[in-house]
């Protein structure tokens, strides 16, 4: 008999390119993998608001302040799309936030680096959002329906993020010697961490094979990283920025750039909690979460009161 609740039936649906919806049968590990990946993704959007938020009050013009505010508001929205998509898997928003606060759930390592000056806002938009876009474009075709739909919505909003960052960098590279040096310094600090955003090499990525088999991931870490490298190096060269890697070489045969060794020790160190801002990012989130408790309580009390009134009028 054809059993709809079997892993083999599930896999054949995946292989046919079907999307899985919240109430469909799915293997427990597929659900777990999605919850881990989607919650990490959601937390990254929200924690990622912090390094940029640091510069709202110090943006150099009204125009740049408006742009930065709009960008950060988008990131908050991305977090909300992804939290609600993750909630369709049967996990509550409370549990998701608790896991972030306890350290059980991760967020993208990149946000454990500080935004030291205005050039960093350019580098973050151009490189960090640029790397995120490569990943997110690929995830539009992920097999879980709610995740895929959230990604489509997010991708529509992301391209402005990257362009505003590149515009900042291009402007600074046309500016004074000091401004050029600032832009280059930001490039030097953000380049390697951006490459690390794609995660370990495929050969060192234990969970990757399941994710590819289930079509949660449509391309591997190394494939996505290469796409980002190939897109970004010509953009850097165009505005006169030097990529901080002496080993960079364009392979004429394949059309792909080859790069030097990524420092995975640093990556592991930051993942393990020893980056420059790990503690600050989580403490900040906890602080404002706790400070907002009375607002949620008041909203809840207001609802109860009005529910009673509605009942009386019926």
């Amino acid at each position: 008999m054809h059993n709809e609740h079997s892993d083999s039936n599930f896999q054949s649906r995946i292989d046919k390119g079907e999307h899985i919806e919240a109430r469909d049968y799915m293997p427990e590990n597929y659900r777990k993998h999605l919850i881990r990946q989607m919650s990490q993704h959601a937390h990254s959007e929200v924690i990622g608001m912090q390094p940029e938020g640091n510069w709202i009050t110090r943006a150099p013009s009204l125009r740049s302040k408006q742009i930065l505010l709009a960008k950060i508001q988008d990131e908050g929205g991305h977090g909300l799309y992804l939290y609600s998509a993750a909630e369709t898997l049967g996990i509550s928003r409370q549990e998701l936030i608790q896991s972030l606060h306890s350290g059980k759930a991760k967020y993208s390592n990149i946000f454990n680096y500080p935004a030291l000056n205005w050039a960093d806002i350019g580098a973050i938009g151009w490189l960090v959002d640029g790397a995120a876009i490569v990943n997110q474009v690929s995830l539009q075709r992920t097999s879980y329906g709610p995740y895929s739909r959230a990604m489509v919505r997010i991708c529509k909003e992301e391209s402005f993020h990257q362009r505003q960052g590149y515009e900042i960098m291009a402007k600074m590279m046309k500016g004074t010697k000091d401004q050029q040096a600032m832009a280059q310094d930001a490039m030097n600090r953000w380049w390697w961490p951006s490459l690390m955003m794609f995660g370990p090499h495929d050969t060192d990525s234990p969970r990757s094979s399941d994710a590819v088999k289930w079509r949660i991931k449509r391309e591997t870490n190394d494939e996505l990283r290469q796409k980002f490298i190939d897109k970004t190096i010509p953009q850097a060269e165009l505005i006169g920025l030097k990529v901080p890697d002496d080993k960079i070489k364009l392979d004429e045969k394949t059309g792909h750039y080859k790069i030097g060794e990524i420092n995975w020790e640093e990556f592991q160190r930051v993942v393990a909690g020893h980056g420059p801002c790990n503690k600050q990012r989580l403490d900040h989130h906890k602080l404002y979460f706790n400070q907002g408790a009375w607002v949620r309580e008041a909203a809840e009390a207001y609802k109860q009161k009005h529910l009673k009134q509605e009942m009386q009028t019926i």
Partner: protein, 96 residues
């Protein structure tokens, strides 16, 4: 009782242009109708994505069970008389 909740879950439907159907956009959290409407606006229509919004408490959505798909969504191929091509029109009939 723990009074610090993340509020209730609501589903958001958006009509992109007048005359178009309302399409599910995603969900939001809110404690009452007014907050649900405001949060839906802020979350899903920051770039003119819609001209009208419906918000519905998620607990009132009744969803079909995938196990019933065979029964519910049988293509009814035996009921070909539901399709216009089933009928024989007299030679020369126009605009029908």
């Amino acid at each position: 009782m723990n009074s610090d909740t993340q509020l209730d879950l609501w589903e958001v439907f958006i009509q992109s242009k007048s005359g178009q159907p309302y399409i599910h956009a995603g969900s939001i959290h809110a404690s009452d109708m007014k907050m649900a409407m405001q949060n839906a606006r802020d979350t899903y229509t920051r770039r003119g994505e819609g001209t009208s919004i419906w918000v519905v408490p998620s607990k009132y959505i009744v969803a079909s069970n995938p196990d019933d798909n065979a029964m519910l969504f049988d293509p009814s191929n035996d009921k070909i008389y539901r399709h216009p091509t089933f009928y024989v029109m007299p030679e020369g009939a126009k605009n029908i």
